[in-house]
């Protein structure tokens, strides 16, 4: 391999030939077939596809919640054997915050479980994380008193409070209203710039995918297969209306809604582009 001479950094997240089945009453159904992806240090990879493409399933298997049928998942070269606090998941559901804990206690929770910091430091770090996401004033509120946007902010703070530099986000803003979503997207990008975490982000919004991601991975549905890949690192908030942004968005749209993809059973091979 000629690549040997290149500085072959071990990817942060690596999934190789991932095939995932899930069990239903009528037997097992293939959710994901032969998907490979890598996410490098500080990269933000977005999985985009229509519902049923298995994007959440891929994220859950990388998180260690779902065991793949075949294929390998490695985090910094080490095989994933189950869930772990080195990869923190932010879910779409608001009830990911534990209702019996205040916002502060929720954010402190992963540190208290890890038990390797004294109480004072745990408090200080939780407060810093909450300030970072703009929740300094709601620290001692219980989750049920918060708005959806605040709940997701708290969940992001809980993800940032640990030393984990890998974030797995499963449509975290999908249940928010449009304005709140925009605000949180901005904040997420700001945090990503500041902290430089590695992000795997699942969404069904084309615009969100191009904005958030440095790279875009398109999946077909039933079962999920990789159909295309885009470099979207150049796009920021100022490019929303730019021709380049529109061109990519249109292309993504065309691939996702290509007529032959309506028929799930016919395997379509699309050349992956970069």
């Amino acid at each position: 391999m000629s690549g040997m001479t290149v500085k072959a950094a071990v990817p942060v997240i690596e999934a190789a030939a991932l095939t995932i089945d899930y069990q239903t009453d009528r037997g097992s159904v293939r959710a994901v077939e032969d998907v490979s992806l890598t996410v490098g240090e500080g990269e933000r990879l977005v999985l985009l596809g229509r519902s049923g493409c298995g994007k959440s399933t891929i994220l859950k298997s990388i998180a260690g919640f779902v065991k793949p049928h075949s294929g390998a998942i490695r985090i910094r070269g080490r095989e994933v054997r189950g869930p772990g606090p080195d990869r923190i998941v932010v879910f779409q559901e608001f009830d990911q915050l534990l209702p019996w804990k205040t916002v502060r206690q929720n954010v402190e929770f992963p540190l208290r479980i890890a038990r390797d910091l004294p109480g004072e430091q745990i408090r200080a770090r939780a407060e810093a994380a909450l300030r970072r996401v703009g929740l300094a004033r709601a620290m001692d509120a219980y989750p049920h008193t918060l708005s959806g946007g605040m709940k997701q902010r708290a969940a992001i703070a809980r993800a940032l409070v640990t030393d984990a530099d890998i974030l797995l986000m499963d449509e975290p803003f999908a249940a928010l209203d449009a304005l709140t979503r925009r605000q949180l997207q901005e904040d997420l990008l700001r945090l990503a710039e500041e902290i430089g975490f590695t992000l795997l982000f699942v969404t069904h919004s084309i615009e969100e995918a191009i904005l958030i991601g440095t790279r875009l991975h398109l999946l077909s549905a039933h079962p999920g297969r990789t159909v295309a890949s885009f470099d979207t690192s150049g796009f920021g908030w100022d490019d929303l209306a730019s021709p380049a942004f529109e061109r990519v968005a249109k292309e993504v749209h065309q691939i996702l809604f290509a007529p032959d993809r309506e028929h799930a059973d016919t395997p379509t091979k699309e050349p992956a582009r970069d």
Binding site: F65, G84, L98, F109, P110, H144
Partner: protein
């Protein structure tokens, strides 16, 4: 005590949740004044009916009952009888609740235990605890041990059922959050499942309490004295034999009052401090 009286329908409906519980919640919100009115109206109806019936030996008036209760409090140590009952009850209640928690936690991790527990619940939950009393007496003799066996039976199955269904309905996301941070085994049960299922667990504790109280009084009626002094059931039984019907009513009133205090003060407080505060229950 008066402000608790309208909670009575809630206790009666305890076996069938849903509309009953909701109606009870509405009643609770309705304020002290209305409760007092209801209570006074009930007392008035009782008084009028008893006066009209004019058979004080069979059906004493409200005032006669209150007089008898007052007398029993002062001269017959009905509080000691109540305490005798409660002390036995608490032992059985705590033991059965802890046992149920252990069993349900095991059922969560092991599907074989789970099937077994579900089967046992299906078998024993409908079996009235009092029906076990003759057997318990045969095996353990006349005494506290028999009572404890029956009490454990009365609390264990309904509480295990409520807790199991509570664990089952813990949101998937919260389970995943716990696993994400590396929680496993007992730590996972204690830090995620139990708090997340607390509304159901408290509900099960309430049901278990009602069943235990009911069972104990009934057992004492059959049993007579379980210790030197005898409990409330024995108080009722003894006074019936001597045809002090007003004292029988006073004993019944005591049973009701204690039930209301536990439901309306202890459990209400527990709920206010936990699930209501957390927005897990309205």
């Amino acid at each position: 005590m008066t402000d608790l009286a309208p909670d009575r329908p809630a206790e009666n409906a305890a076996a069938a949740p849903g509309p009953g519980a909701r109606a009870a919640a509405q009643l609770r919100r309705s304020g002290l004044g209305r409760k007092l009115v209801v209570l006074l109206a009930l007392a008035a109806i009782w008084q009028v009916a008893a006066v009209l019936a004019d058979k004080p030996i069979l059906f004493p008036t409200f005032t006669a009952t209150m007089g008898a209760l007052w007398d029993a409090l002062r001269n017959e140590n009905i509080l000691l009888a109540a305490w005798t009952s409660l002390a036995v009850l608490l032992k059985g209640y705590v033991f059965a609740s802890l046992l149920a928690l252990v069993l349900v936690s095991l059922a969560i991790v092991n599907s074989l235990v789970r099937e077994g527990l579900q089967m046992l619940i299906a078998m024993f939950n409908p079996l009235p605890a009092i029906a076990l009393l003759p057997l318990a007496m045969l095996w353990f003799g006349l005494g506290e041990r028999s009572l404890l066996v029956v009490l454990t039976h009365a609390v264990l199955w309904p509480f295990a059922l409520a807790t199991l269904s509570g664990f089952d309905s813990v949101p998937e996301t919260q389970r995943l959050v716990g696993r994400n941070y590396g929680l496993k085994g007992p730590a996972y049960v204690v830090r995620i499942l139990i708090p997340a299922a607390l509304p159901s667990i408290l509900y099960g504790l309430k049901i278990g309490w009602a069943f235990a109280w009911r069972t104990l009084i009934a057992a004492e009626l059959v049993f007579g004295v379980s210790s030197s002094s005898g409990g409330l059931g024995w108080f009722i039984f003894r006074n019936r034999n001597e045809l002090y019907t007003d004292k029988v009513f006073a004993g019944l009133a005591m049973v009701i009052i204690i039930g209301l205090v536990i439901e309306g003060v202890v459990f209400r407080l527990l709920e206010t401090l936990t699930v209501r505060r957390w927005g897990m229950q309205r």
